[in-house]
């Protein structure tokens, strides 16, 4: 599957900021349906595409018109990989909260918050850079993307 066209790098940065706020609210309130919604947001970005991802839509509708256009572009593949990592943590977190294993929900959500915050504040994609580290522990998985 093709990752899709390159994107305006400020879009994913905006998405990471929104994600950070959403995950922080989940942790403070413990309201897991919000985390479930965030899981769906991650899933759209990871498995369908960046363009239809809700925060990208929000960025194009609300933020992009107010900014000067940029010719800078960022590859879509790393971004979609990062959304996949986010999806896994958010899914585990949702299952933890909903299934009554609150500690699991809190820890998984905190990890997702950590990664989203690093992305929003430092433009550092944790999932992308430690991809090799992740592969080290899953040596025989075929990756076709």
């Amino acid at each position: 599957m093709a990752a899709g066209p390159a994107v305006d790098p400020r879009g994913p940065r905006f998405a990471a900021a929104v994600t950070t706020v959403v995950l922080a609210v989940v942790l403070v309130t413990g309201w897991w349906p919000l985390l479930a919604a965030q899981t769906v947001v991650f899933a759209i970005g990871a498995f369908i595409g960046l363009r239809p991802a809700p925060y990208s839509v929000l960025y194009r509708a609300l933020v992009a018109p107010r900014l000067a256009p940029t010719s800078e572009r960022e590859d879509a593949a790393p971004l979609r990989f990062a959304q996949t990592v986010g999806f896994v943590f958010a899914l585990v977190g949702t299952l933890g909260y909903a299934g009554g294993v609150t500690a699991l929900g809190v820890v998984a959500t905190a990890f997702a918050l950590f990664a989203a915050f690093l992305n929003a504040a430092f433009n550092f994609c944790l999932g992308c850079e430690v991809y090799l580290l992740a592969r080290r522990f899953t040596p025989r998985t075929e990756h076709t993307s």
Binding site: A24, T29, E74, D75, F117, C128, E129, Y131, L132, R135
Partner: protein, 149 residues
């Protein structure tokens, strides 16, 4: 209430790690002389070494790495205008064992080799061009003509 503390703790940890990563980005680590027998280099690396260049920069990348693209542009430009410097971008997405054998955990990591395959230095993250050139300086000086055999 616990949730609030988790948020605060996570954000503080994020700030610390972020600042640390920011500081370490592009830092050059000189490789110490191997004590005994030097480990054998993975095949894709030996294949990438340019015999005609004094130094080859082997960049370890993956498809899922945004700063790799930036690094590739910077290093290929640097190699183009530097005598005796060669640059190769090695995508290890589908062959992570190459990175494992080199002890590379994050991408991009750039390893500089002499034409004989001896490691000179490593740079994690996006390198800083002038710093890298300065560190490689002694190795880039044209070698005295060796007697041909």
């Amino acid at each position: 209430m616990t949730g609030l503390w988790v948020v605060v703790g996570t954000l503080v940890a994020g700030l610390l790690v972020g600042a640390l990563l920011h500081r370490r980005n592009g830092r050059i680590r000189t490789t110490a002389e191997p004590a005994g027998e030097s480990a054998e280099l993975p095949e894709p690396v030996t294949a990438a070494l340019a015999p005609g260049s004094a130094v080859t920069l082997v960049q370890i990348s993956t498809t899922f790495c945004a700063p790799c693209r930036q690094t590739r542009a910077l290093l290929s430009h640097l190699a183009e205008r530097t005598e005796g410097l060669h640059h190769v971008d090695l995508d290890v997405t589908d062959r992570p064992h190459v990175a494992q054998e080199l002890g590379v955990l994050r991408t991009p990591t750039t390893v500089a080799y002499t034409s004989e395959g001896r490691e000179i230095l490593r740079v994690g993250g996006v390198p800083k061009g002038p710093d890298l050139l300065a560190a490689l300086g002694p190795h880039l000086v044209p070698e005295v003509e060796r007697g041909s055999h």
